[in-house]
């Protein structure tokens, strides 16, 4: 009774919501997960062009040995060995020399440009929100950012949620209190608060007491300790819970390695290991359901091709990224390699693939009914052979 009454309060009919829940992802549609690696990942270390003769002139303390050879040119960072099985069974692909059309070397500008989906400028809504807008509404967990705040990429008119942890996503207190808050927020004058409140309560109701929300990892998947592992696990829970998740977003920081970056071990290696272990555990946890998912990593910029004066790297331009999941033409590095002997502005790896072409390929392959011209209004994505 109570449940019915507050659903009505929200203007949603019970049958509509039930049918939305009951609907599993159709054969064509996949959940899109993006992982923003904040700080600017040194793509030349994450996926090292060991076969480029200029590499050893540019870098001294940063070069690593012993990582998985991806092809005659590229070598995976040795701290990322957890990705080996995924690459070998072709569920994981690399894209290299990827970046922005009008790059910025400012963290927040570069992040805002990417998340806006625009060339060298920004706006108040994000590319993922515009992709989301094409889906039917009324599913509480349609789009979720597993982080403290809603990132710009998901901000906009279409409903999206942000919370850092499923376990803590509940109102503590006497029963019925949730209902009161719900009514208060429904009447809020401030639109941002009203919308966030609405989204919060709708989802709170959907998650309350559900077994999937606290399910253990399957298939012996071992997530890395820390927030990133927990968030990847929560994303897997949302997928396994069949709650209609279309877009999931999370992030990992700590890639701004200006000083003592390290090679096979060290500061960057630790972060890359956390990323690789999280991705690998997510894949193991999902098992065959990984085919229903597309995961893409991205970062705001790569770093200087040359090692700087403090055994680190400064803000650069192109970087590398991973795409994983169903339909990915994996087990290969997709790159139009610009060569390290022809650097952009004599300092950075040049961009030969616009990041938005990759993101659009992923959105398209996920079966989202969005139009490229809505998602990336000032850019015509180039077709890539990233998905079969």
């Amino acid at each position: 009774m109570m449940r019915r009454s507050f659903l009505q309060l929200l203007g949603l009919s019970v049958p509509a919501l039930q049918s939305a829940f009951a609907q599993p992802a159709s054969a064509k549609s996949k959940t899109l997960i993006t992982i923003f690696l904040r700080g600017g990942v040194d793509g030349l270390s994450m996926v090292q062009p060991s076969g480029d003769p200029a590499l050893r002139d540019l870098r001294k303390t940063l070069i690593h040995e012993g990582g998985l050879k991806l092809d005659s040119m590229f070598q995976l960072h040795p701290a990322m060995s957890a990705l080996k099985p995924l690459y070998e069974r072709k569920s994981l692909a690399v894209v290299h020399a990827v970046g922005q059309a009008n790059p910025s070397r400012s963290h927040f500008e570069a992040q805002d440009f990417i998340e806006s989906g625009l060339s060298g400028t920004k706006r108040g809504d994000g590319y993922l929100n515009r992709a989301l807008a094409a889906f039917p509404e009324g599913v509480p967990f349609r789009a979720v950012a597993l982080q403290n705040t809603l990132p710009l990429s998901l901000a906009g008119d279409a409903q999206a949620l942000a919370f850092p942890e499923l376990r803590r996503f509940k109102v503590n207190g006497a029963s019925g209190l949730g209902l009161s808050f719900e009514a208060l927020y429904a009447g809020a004058v401030d639109e941002a608060l009203r919308t966030s409140g609405h989204d919060a309560f709708e989802s709170l109701n959907a998650v309350a007491g559900e077994a999937w929300a606290t399910a253990e990892a399957a298939n012996g998947a071992a997530y890395p300790r820390g927030a990133f592992g927990q968030r990847m696990q929560d994303l897997a829970r949302l997928i396994r819970g069949d709650v209609g998740l279309r877009i999931g977003v999370t992030e990992l920081g700590g890639f701004d390695t200006h000083l003592a970056q390290g090679a096979a071990a060290g500061q960057l290696a630790n972060k890359l290991k956390e990323l690789a272990d999280g991705l690998a555990a997510f894949a193991v946890d999902l098992g065959p359901r990984l085919d229903d998912v597309i995961v893409a990593t991205l970062t705001e910029f790569g770093r200087t091709a040359r090692e700087n004066g403090t055994q680190g790297t400064d803000h650069g331009t192109a970087s590398s990224l991973f795409v994983m999941g169903g339909g990915v033409r994996g087990g290969r590095v997709h790159a139009d390699w610009p060569s390290l002997s022809k650097l952009y502005e004599d300092r950075d790896l040049a961009v030969t693939t616009d990041l938005r072409s990759v993101l659009w390929s992923a959105i398209e392959a996920s079966g989202a009914p969005a139009k490229a011209s809505d998602v990336f209004p000032d850019f015509a994505p180039k077709p890539l052979s990233l998905f079969s």
Partner: protein, 541 residues
């Protein structure tokens, strides 16, 4: 004759003439508007303080707005009660060197105890024992105490505006305790580089942050040296780092331009960033642990790039030494783009997320006219009609710290800060002293209004009002003759105004509807307070 004239001219430039008798400060006029005194008091205390507390409301009513603001802008008096409370925190007065000595980094401590990292790795019992035996000197105490002190100050300091400004300027010149060694420097940074200058000159504040080890470490400038630098043999073992760098690190120089001064759209380019980094080479930290001045600023002239530089319109002749950096800071502090950038950010913090351009111009003009006097610049905001306009009232969403501090100030007494109170801020996405990117936390609301954040706020309000936040006791108005009266009393305390009819009806209905027998019963004040703190109205300031 001509030489004389020049000398006079230069002399006048170098030392501004001091008037013999300081002119009496102009009496402060605060614009009138149509609000009730209670509404005015809540508005002022919501912005110039961490929200209204019963004692600050009483003081403001007693002395009047102008006198209250004048005192807040020149807070010379002691706050004995606060000082007594903070005197128990051992880490707050420590220098960086003392902090490292008293709270040694784990590796160093292990070395002193003669334990190898491998021994520890295979022996969880030993690890537990060490943690227990050394609990008082674990480095985590540095951050715990800093966090607790900040909460106490935000909630209880009588110099509220100073605390708000310390929060603003720390965030503007952000460093994060998450970047390993910065943790040992964070209290010293706030105490020595931020707090003394928040009502002083911007140039002094800029200089203090530029030379503080926390900033030099956090943005890597301490390791930035001229390209091709090699340590001369005779200097090895001196104040130079062991693993010596060989060239520029442009991290600090970039953020100095982008975040601290002129702003990202000022028109500088990558070359300007590199030139600025060259000007700042050699600005470093004394790093030898045995040195008494360990962890203080040092200019390493042998690591400095002595060539000429040109930075965003500033020309520096060769051989400037440490003056290169000083001149760069002078130039940036007085650049008109800096005035605009700072004015805008202050207006977003204190007035609204989209402040009117006329106000920004007004505040920027004050900044320029007073050569970056932050007392005058801050005053210009609070005495502007824009601050007192209907558009500005309740126009801002509280940031996490503002939300937590204002709710405790309204109905609570802080007996002691326990960790759950600090952890609430972590969950709301703004952990104190741990904002990793140099941008600091956003001053506008969009990033912190999200479903998860609201749920955290609702839960905090419920816990606080029902006395479940450890270390905080709660005083609520007595229940009224009926539920409506109780509601009005609680809302007067928390919001400074009666609730809108809609919200009032919703709460009465929601709380009354809970009763199984349908009888209207008196609502407990705690229940109302719990709801109101989590309500949309209380998220505003």
């Amino acid at each position: 004759m001509r030489v004389m004239a020049l000398a006079v001219l230069f002399g006048a430039c170098a030392t501004p003439t001091q008037p013999v008798i300081a002119p009496a400060p102009a009496p402060m006029t605060i614009p009138a508007n149509g609000w009730s005194p209670q509404q005015r008091a809540h508005h002022l205390l919501n912005r110039a303080a961490f929200g209204p507390s019963p004692s600050d409301l009483a003081e403001l009513e007693h002395v009047g707005e102008a006198a209250w603001l004048t005192a807040q802008l020149d807070p010379s008096g002691h706050d004995a009660q606060l000082e007594a409370k903070l005197s128990g925190f051992k880490t707050l007065p420590l220098t960086v060197a003392q902090a490292f000595a008293a709270y040694p980094p784990p590796q160093q401590r292990l070395k002193e105890l003669g334990i190898t990292p491998d021994e520890l790795k295979d022996n969880p019992e030993l690890r537990k024992q060490l943690m227990r035996e050394n609990a008082d000197e674990l480095p985590r105490n540095l951050l715990i105490e800093a966090t607790q002190a900040k909460l106490i100050r935000s909630i209880e300091s009588r110099r509220q505006l100073e605390e708000v400004l310390v929060d603003f300027w720390f965030n503007h010149f952000n460093v994060s305790a998450e970047k390993n060694r910065t943790r040992w420097m964070i209290s010293a940074y706030e105490r020595d580089a931020i707090r003394p200058f928040v009502l002083g000159k911007f140039r002094e504040l800029l200089g203090a942050t530029a030379k503080h080890p926390a900033m030099l470490w956090y943005l890597d400038n301490w390791m930035s040296v001229r390209d091709g630098f090699e340590v001369p043999r005779r200097r090895r073992g001196g104040q130079l780092p062991r693993r010596m760098p060989t060239g520029l690190n442009e991290n600090y120089a970039r953020e100095l331009l982008e975040l601290h001064t002129v702003g990202v759209n000022a028109g500088y380019d990558q070359d300007d960033v590199r030139e600025a980094a060259r000007a700042l080479t050699g600005w470093s930290i004394r790093v030898r642990p045995r040195d008494g001045e360990f962890g203080t600023f040092i200019f390493q002239s042998i690591a400095h790039d002595s060539g000429p530089k040109e930075i965003f319109g500033l020309e520096l002749a060769a051989g400037g030494g440490i003056e290169d950096g000083e001149k760069l800071l002078d130039y940036l502090a007085r650049h008109p783009a800096t005035a605009r950038h700072i004015a805008r950010k202050l207006c977003v913090r204190f007035v609204s997320d989209e402040p009117p351009q006329a106000l920004i111009d007004e505040v920027a003009a004050t900044f320029v006219r007073t050569d970056g006097d932050l007392r005058e610049t801050t005053k210009a905001i609070f005495t502007s009609p824009h601050f007192w306009s209907d558009e500005a009232r309740a126009a801002k969403t509280k940031a996490p710290l503002e939300f937590v501090a204002s709710s405790v100030r309204a109905i609570g007494t802080l007996n002691e800060v326990r960790q759950p109170l600090a952890r609430v801020l972590d969950q709301m996405g703004e952990p104190l002293y741990r904002c990793n990117p140099p941008t600091g936390f956003a001053e506008h609301a969009t990033p912190w209004v999200s479903a998860g954040a609201l749920v955290n706020r609702i839960n905090f309000g419920l816990a606080l009002a029902s006395g479940r936040v450890p270390g905080v006791s709660v005083t609520l108005p007595a229940a009224g003759a009926n539920s409506a009266e109780t509601l009005d009393r609680v809302s007067a305390v928390l919001l400074g105004r009666p609730l809108s009819e809609g919200t009032r009806g919703t709460i009465l209905k929601a709380l009354a509807g809970e009763e199984a027998d349908g009888e209207m019963r008196a609502i407990a004040p705690a229940k109302v307070a719990g709801l109101l703190i989590g309500s949309p109205e209380f998220q505003h300031q």
